[in-house]
């Protein structure tokens, strides 16, 4: 039974969390806890996979006598939960394996270990929950556990601020979800998901729930403009936790959105896709543009998560658009693309954060201007980071390409939509997607190039050592899966098919039947992709090129100083820097989107002061949304402050008039 196994895993996580509290000071504590988490995640992973592979397995439900007395705690595993169980526990297992090595460097393990296990438990519970009460409770549990992990290194003022903003945004999102479930349940309704599924709400209520779900889950997933906490909080946590937050927790938010919108709202209206598509498209482009301009490796990765969440939401929006117009096959394609990207992103984003963690552990640096040259000292990490970078840039033959290609296939079906507005909107979103993909490539050229190539820009980078075996093993597993999912995507698409069958009542053709391991999303005449063929071609052509170069090139060894373009004695700081790499893109997009200002201070001739160059970049969401909100709250609070200093009789009179007012309202209520 999948559900029993999964709940036992959750129990194991919670137990490990208690064990971690009890023995956090022991030196073996982190090994015990991470090994335990690894085993429990692997069990959860296989439970989810087993349910998913048995494609016709009926949903399993279980009720525990916890929580509200008349409701209990309901849990259920259907195909959607099973898929996300797989994603959550795969990320959890990889992070635990990585942390077996990486966690040894942790200075304050007692602040990380208990919450790490609890965080995994929370994410599993959200996916398993089958009533609104259990769902919201697990959701908050997950948020609080991850908040505690963000605050693990609380000596740094930046982390304190990140934690505070995260807590605010998390509560805001939960309030939105709470209202959404309240509306779904209706005045006399029940909070069990079974009842919500069987009673879809009326049109107005459904629209309100859609908006609230987009806000509530979007604030957790990091949709623009609700993303502001994400690039602060994700990098603040220890790296294996950052990987979980970026790679897995955002996917749990996607799960919540899919569950609410596709399971509870009934047949979609045609305009529902518009807010989802617009939010997805703007997140994709803005996320990657912000990412490009970051000088900090982990911040860059966090912003790139926003970009990928945008791509996933574009897929979901397309699925809504096609489903509203009864284009079942196309809807299944868009949903498959979104879910495949969920899976893929959880793989390569975790891998990238592991790589960033390995770099951070080896050098203590996250700033590109102090890294460089690590490919010589950390060749394995460099190779694995390169694999993940290629995957996230959506280059074949790795997995990122497959999901983005499928998304584009869905975009290309949009002329079949009957609404003119959508026929214009969807290609525009497709253009944004293409722009985001190109910028992502630039972004990861920067991330890989300036962290691993060139010469070391600091002493720490020069003396870096390769990371430990467990970390490498964790990264190798993920890189292998990236390659597997890219070369044989048909296998994974077939596993997603029962999920789309459940949500949309239609599925892609069985890819296992297609000869030569190709994938054919719609029909052979339209488009097909063969990852294996591309891989073999790339392999043969690069081997051929290497062979040709070695055979045909001159064998005479030439020695010349590197970087000798007029600087015979160049210091590492004269290298091309990460900041200069993105300057052209910043000039193109920056003045409008980031309000970027470049200030050059050039001392007068004869003045011995150093010249300086400064770039100021602002996040538009802060300037136009959050700052006004904060200042208006302050103004209102100042006004209401008067209430704190009233005389006793005035307090009484205030209560009295409030009572009278309410009674009058009651008396005049129609």
């Amino acid at each position: 039974m999948t559900i029993v196994a999964s709940l036992w895993c959750v129990g194991a996580f919670l137990g490990l969390s208690i064990v971690a509290v009890a023995c956090a000071r022991l030196s073996a504590a982190s090994a015990i806890v991470y090994a335990g988490c690894l085993i429990a995640s692997t069990v959860g992973l296989s439970a989810g996979l087993e349910h998913l592979i048995a494609a016709s397995a009926p949903p399993q439900t279980l009720q525990l006598p916890l929580g509200l007395p008349w409701l209990g705690a309901n849990f259920r595993v259907d195909m959607l939960s099973a898929f996300f169980l797989l994603v959550v526990n795969l990320g959890g297992a990889a992070a635990s394996l990585f942390a077996l090595g990486y966690g040894q460097h942790e200075q304050a393990p007692h602040r990380v270990l208990p919450f790490f296990a609890a965080f995994l438990a929370g994410m599993n519970l959200v996916v398993l929950a089958d009533d609104a009460f259990a769902f919201l409770l697990s959701w908050e549990f997950m948020s609080l556990a991850s908040w505690a992990l963000v605050m693990a290194h609380d000596r740094e003022p930046e982390n304190l601020q990140a934690g505070y903003i995260y807590l605010l945004m998390a509560s805001f999102g939960t309030v939105a979800l709470l209202l959404a479930f309240g509306l779904l349940a209706g005045p006399g309704g029940s909070y069990a998901f079974a009842d919500l599924r069987s009673h879809p709400p009326s049109d107005q209520v459904a629209a309100a729930v859609l908006a609230l779900a987009l806000i509530g889950t979007g604030s957790k997933a990091g949709l623009v403009p609700l993303h502001v906490w994400l690039p602060l909080a994700h990098p603040a946590a220890p790296s294996h936790v950052s990987a979980l937050m970026s790679g897995v927790m955002t996917k749990v938010a996607v799960y919540a959105f899919v569950r609410i919108v596709f399971s509870f709202l009934g047949p979609p209206e045609s305009w529902w896709c518009v807010p989802v598509l617009v939010a997805g498209g703007s997140s994709a482009v803005l996320g990657v543009l912000y990412a490009l301009n970051q000088g900090d490796l982990k911040k860059l990765l966090a912003y790139s998560t926003i970009d990928n969440i945008g791509i996933i939401f574009i897929g979901l929006g397309l699925a809504l658009a096609f489903q509203a117009n009864d284009l079942g096959q196309a809807a299944a394609l868009a949903m498959t693309a979104a879910l495949l990207h969920v899976f893929n992103h959880s793989l390569f984003k975790s891998l990238l954060f592991f790589g960033a963690g390995a770099v951070l552990g080896a050098t203590g640096e996250r700033d590109f201007e102090r890294l460089g040259g690590l490919i010589h000292t950390m060749p394995v990490t460099a190779f694995l980071f390169l694999v993940a970078s290629v995957a996230i840039c959506a280059l074949p033959p790795l997995n990122g390409f497959v999901s983005e290609w499928l998304t584009f296939q869905a975009v290309l079906i949009s002329p079949q939509l009957p609404q003119w507005g959508l026929r214009f909107l969807v290609p525009a979103i497709g253009a944004l997607l293409a722009l985001a993909a190109a910028l992502a490539a630039a972004c990861f050229v920067k991330a890989f190039g300036f962290a691993f190539l060139g010469r070391a820009r600091s002493e720490a980078a020069k003396q870096a050592r390769e990371t430990d075996a467990f970390s490498v093993a964790g990264m190798f597993c993920l890189a292998g899966l990236c390659a597997f999912a890219g070369i044989l995507p048909g296998f994974i698409i077939d596993r997603i098919a029962p999920v789309t069958q459940l949500l949309l009542d239609s599925r892609l053709p069985v890819q296992a039947d297609v000869p030569w391991l190709s994938i054919i999303p719609i029909s052979q005449s339209r488009s097909s992709y063969n990852g294996l063929l591309v891989f073999v071609f790339i392999l043969i052509s690069s081997l051929g090129a290497i062979e040709a170069i070695h055979r045909l090139a001159s064998r005479r060894v030439r020695r010349a100083p590197a970087w000798d373009c007029g600087f015979p004695d160049a210091a590492p700081s004269t290298q091309y820097s990460a900041g200069s790499f993105v300057q052209p893109l910043r000039r193109v997009y920056g003045t409008l989107i980031f309000l970027a200002r470049e200030t050059v201070r050039m001392p007068a001739p004869g003045d011995t002061a150093p010249a300086s160059f400064r770039v100021d970049i602002q996040d538009l969401a802060w300037r136009f949304i959050y700052t006004p909100i904060v200042s208006s709250v302050n103004i209102v609070a100042d006004r209401l402050n008067y209430l704190q200093y009233m005389t006793i009789r005035r307090y009484l009179a205030l209560v009295f008039s409030a009572l009278i007012f309410l009674l009058i309202v009651l008396a005049s209520w129609p």
Binding site: I648, L652, I664
Partner: protein, 221 residues
Amino acid sequence: MKHDFFFDVAHMLAGGLVLVSFLMLYQDRLYALINVFALHAFVLALSVAWQAFIQDAPHLYVTAVIALGFKAIVIPVALHRIVERLGIHREIETVVNIGVTMLGGIGLVALAMVVMLRVTPTADALAREDLAFALSVLLLGLLMMVTRRNAVSQVIGFMSLENGLILAATGAKGMPLVVEISVAFSVLIAFIVIGIFLFRIRERFDTVDLQALDSFRGDSE
């Protein structure tokens, strides 16, 4: 026929309580106010006893006796002694314009009627009327607390408000005696605490006018 008679008497007693509340509103001397409060508690005791009789609920007699004993005798006597010891029995209290207060009180009673008759259309007629009167008594007690400055009359306003609560509770059938007794005791304790505070205030500020407290806090009207 018999039911109508029961109803009329209960109605009369509850209405009497509202009337006595109005009487309290325009008393500007403390002794008179305390006497009217004793009358208020006496009418409440009668009303509760009548309810006990017609509902055939013997525990309500206990409530009536508590109301009579504590509120109509013990507390007024104690308040008399407090006023005497404080030496404020000659003070004429500055009340917000009595005419306006009375008009406001009439408005409150009308509001209470409208609200109660609207929200309880299915309830038993006796309970409905009783609840409407109880809400009126409660609101008039609050009005008194808002319009008075003297701490003693605030205490009396609070107690008359509590009388309204008891009237409501007895009108609705099935209030357990434990609740009644605990309410009665909490009122008694509140009375003792307030009494002690009155003396402490007096020691500090030489007056029991609440305005003195405000000006001591630095923000007088």
